[in-house]
């Protein structure tokens, strides 16, 4: 359960005036602040803080996201980044040079159904977000699995000072990249280990609001490892 | 499926400020106060081929209502009653925001609010419309035609409906031995048996103000509207909030109060048009 330090709050309820949290999820009322989504009020810190338990990913400039190529334009791709707004990746950005439709074949670069890791270059809600892959480590995802989770759970998968993420990597030896838009890229040498990571991440998503989670997930991974003999 | 309106004209933000500042002096742009409807004129018998008709002008809004009658079968669950049907068309000649096509949700809502306002209190004695109970009854079609839309279609349509019902004369008919009934449309007989008279009053909430009879511009800047149907005995015989915002308890109460008062203006206009008192 949540305990008295951490309570589930819902829209319409009044939280203390000094509650901290993203502006996207809190509105000012006469007698305090009101959450606009279901979330957790954590009163263990100096100030009460509001953590949403369900929300929508809104792109921000500089975010590294995992996107799915969903369609192709004349000189760009449209990319589902789990936001209300499909993003655009220009061919010229992918190539790092001007695009020549006579000689460059887009379908040889990226195909519909491909996942990419990309950076949000520009977004202001009036036009589609623009992506870029012109940086080290960005581009098409060629191996591993991509898991979808609610975007609000990503901070919990990372954990305070990356505690959860470090534990997951240490315990499994996998590459794990949680992207802010609610997709986690997992790459393991061992398929059993991959399955364990996926189960662990799904469990973190479900139980993100409960206490003692890191320890519990660690135990879970250890148990699974011994059951599967890895 | 109902959608947030996305084709409405853009209202200059300065316009709302202008309206609010003049409201704070207790006035409207046309020098009216906040709780008096625009000038009403009602003309009856405007369409000879209809069994009843009326044209209402409410400020620059014009609505025509026509009553056509037919002989038909009653509904199974009300065999001894005539049938009343209200239909509204927002024809494209009336406004740049109207499109040709089947009635949209606004036209459907208007027709249904008027239908309920007539039906719930029993404006027309439906039993008097049975020719041979269980077999042949009068079917009364009320068709509301919006001709020029300058706001407040509810009140104008209700007045037109009421005046057209008072104007209605049923056609004569011949009953054959086979049981068939043939109408003789050019010979009119009795009027409808009307038990109650109803008007609706529309108020709009704009900022903190409640105003009566909003015109098109006022409806465009209004947060929300309330339609209240009132009968000759000052009973409330129907109501509907229409619009994308809410009302507080106090605003709702205030809107009903001013509606009851403004109803008098509509009743006066209606009595003048039909040539007799109904209250």
């Amino acid at each position: 359960m949540q305990g008295k330090d951490r309570v589930i709050v819902v829209p319409g309820e009044i939280l203390p005036k000094d509650t901290v949290g993203s502006e996207q999820y809190l509105i000012e009322a006469d007698s305090g602040k009101m959450p606009v989504v279901v979330g957790l009020l954590d009163m263990r810190g100096d100030k009460p803080s509001f953590i949403p338990l369900k929300g929508t990913y809104i792109p921000k400039r500089g975010d590294i996201v995992i996107g799915l190529i969903v369609s192709q334009g004349v000189m760009n791709w449209f990319v589902d980044i789990k936001s209300p707004y499909n993003a655009v990746l220009n061919v010229s950005d992918f190539l790092g040079r001007p695009f020549n439709p006579m000689t460059d074949d887009m379908s040889k670069m990226l195909q519909i159904g491909d996942y990419i890791k990309a950076k949000v270059e520009a977004f202001d809600r009036s036009r589609s977000p623009v992506l870029s892959v012109q940086e080290e480590g960005l581009g098409r995802i060629v191996e591993g699995k991509v898991i979808d989770v609610d975007p609000t759970r990503i901070p919990r998968i990372v954990g305070k000072k990356k505690s959860m993420l470090s534990m997951l990597i240490e315990e499994t030896g996998c590459d794990i990249y949680p992207a802010v838009n609610g997709r986690v890229h997992v790459k393991c040498d061992n398929p059993d280990m991959e399955a364990i990571v996926i189960l662990a991440i799904k469990r973190i998503e479900r139980e993100a609001h409960t206490v003692g989670l890191t320890e519990r997930i660690k135990r879970f991974i250890e148990e699974e490892k011994s059951i599967r003999g890895v | 499926m109902s959608m947030t309106p996305y084709r409405l004209p853009v209202i200059p933000s300065i316009k709302k400020e202008t309206y609010l500042s003049i409201y704070s002096k207790g006035l409207r742009l046309d020098k009216r106060d906040l709780i008096t409807p625009r000038r009403v004129s009602i003309e009856t018998g405007v369409i000879e081929k209809a069994e009843g008709s009326a044209l209402v002008r409410l400020g620059n809004t014009q609505v025509m209502a026509g009553v056509k009658v037919d002989v038909g079968s009653p509904f199974r669950d009300t065999p001894d009653q005539g049938v009343l049907t209200v239909h509204a068309e927002f024809v494209p000649l009336a406004s740049p925001i109207f499109e040709p096509g089947p009635p949209d949700e606004n036209a459907v809502e208007l027709a249904r609010v008027i239908d309920r306002s007539l039906r719930e209190v029993g404006v027309i004695d439906l039993k008097s419309l049975a020719i041979r109970p269980g077999d042949k009854v009068w079917i009364v079609w009320i068709d509301i035609y919006v001709l020029d839309h300058d706001g407040n279609l509810f009140d104008a349509s209700m007045l037109a409906t009421m005046a057209a019902l008072y104007d209605t004369r049923l056609p004569d008919y011949e009953e054959y031995e086979t049981g068939e009934i043939e109408l003789i449309r050019d010979r009119r007989t009795d009027g409808l048996k009307i038990n109650h008279t109803v008007v609706t009053v529309t108020t709009a909430k704009i900022g903190d103000f409640i105003i009566v009879d909003p015109n098109f511009d006022e409806e465009s800047i209004a947060d929300t509207r309330l339609v209240v149907a009132v009968d000759e005995a000052k009973r409330i015989v129907g109501a509907q909030k229409t619009g994308d915002h809410g009302l507080t308890r106090e605003e709702l109460s205030r809107a009903i109060d001013v509606s009851m008062k403004a109803a008098e203006v509509y009743f006066n206009a209606l009595e003048e048009a039909i040539g007799r008192r109904v209250r």
Binding site: P11, V36, V37, H209 | D77, R112, G243
Partner: protein, 246 residues
């Protein structure tokens, strides 16, 4: 719709209703969220035999690109009755009643949805009446409010709805189909009590000014209780998830 049976009394001498309820008593209410897998949020709401499901999709890019607003999300709401929800089969084609109710329900939700957070998108609310026994539109608003919150759509407050009826001269809350069929008046109301806003208000029937005030008072009191139940339902979803731990 049920018809009045001659001589049948729906209010007993003790002031109770045909199903034994007091005038201000709701039918047994059941609420559940997250009942559907595909939608972003969903809810099932029951008031007695009335059973209504709602699902929310979005905010998402609209299928028809022109149906957008530059400064806010477009809310699309459909209230629809399943053909088997009524005694006589209801045609699945949308009736005029359903067109009107879709509109008034949308207008009951618009005041609480923070649509300005998602320009150029649509938020879809689909309401299916699975069994109709009176009060389907207000149960629909209640289910939609829960489904929106379950979907994580930002809301100023939760909305709940109930209808007050006048039956044999007595004002009663949460009318069922039998009462609705014979009642002198039916007042469906929806409100967001936490922000003091009435968002749906219809009157079908005849009331005096004084009766209207009392009926509204009863409706708002019941809605307060309904919204409290909504809050408990949303919270219990997460409490169940953490159960058995620590």
């Amino acid at each position: 719709m049920a018809k009045a049976v001659e001589g049948l009394r729906l209010i007993t001498e003790e002031g109770l209703r045909h199903d034994g309820r007091r005038p201000d008593e709701l039918r047994p209410v059941r609420m559940e969220v997250g009942v559907l897998e595909n939608s972003d949020g969903s809810a099932l709401v029951e008031f007695g035999k009335t059973k209504v499901m709602a699902a929310v999709y979005g905010p998402r890019e609209p299928i028809q690109k022109y149906m957008v607003l530059p400064d806010r999300a477009v809310l699309r709401v459909r209230y629809h009755m399943a053909p088997f929800s009524t005694s006589d089969r209801k045609s699945p084609a949308p009736s005029r009643r359903e067109i009107e109710l879709s509109k008034v329900i949308r207008e009951a939700l618009e005041p609480v949805v923070l649509s300005e957070q998602f320009p150029r998108t649509t938020i879809d609310v689909f309401i299916e009446v699975l069994q109709a026994d009176g009060g389907t539109r207000t149960a629909g608003v209640t289910a939609a409010s829960l489904a929106l919150a379950d979907a994580g759509i930002p809301m100023r407050a939760l909305v709940g709805g109930v209808a007050v009826g006048k039956i044999e001269g007595v004002l009663v809350v949460d009318v069922d189909e039998v009462e609705d069929g014979v009642g002198e008046a039916d007042l469906p109301v929806a409100a967001a009590p936490d922000i003091g806003l009435i968002t749906l208000f219809q009157l079908n029937g005849v009331l005096t000014r004084e009766e209207l005030d009392r009926a509204l008072e009863m409706a708002l009191g019941a809605i307060r209780r309904i919204v409290d139940m909504e809050k408990e339902t949303l919270k219990s979803k997460y409490q169940v998830a953490g159960e058995g731990e620590e």
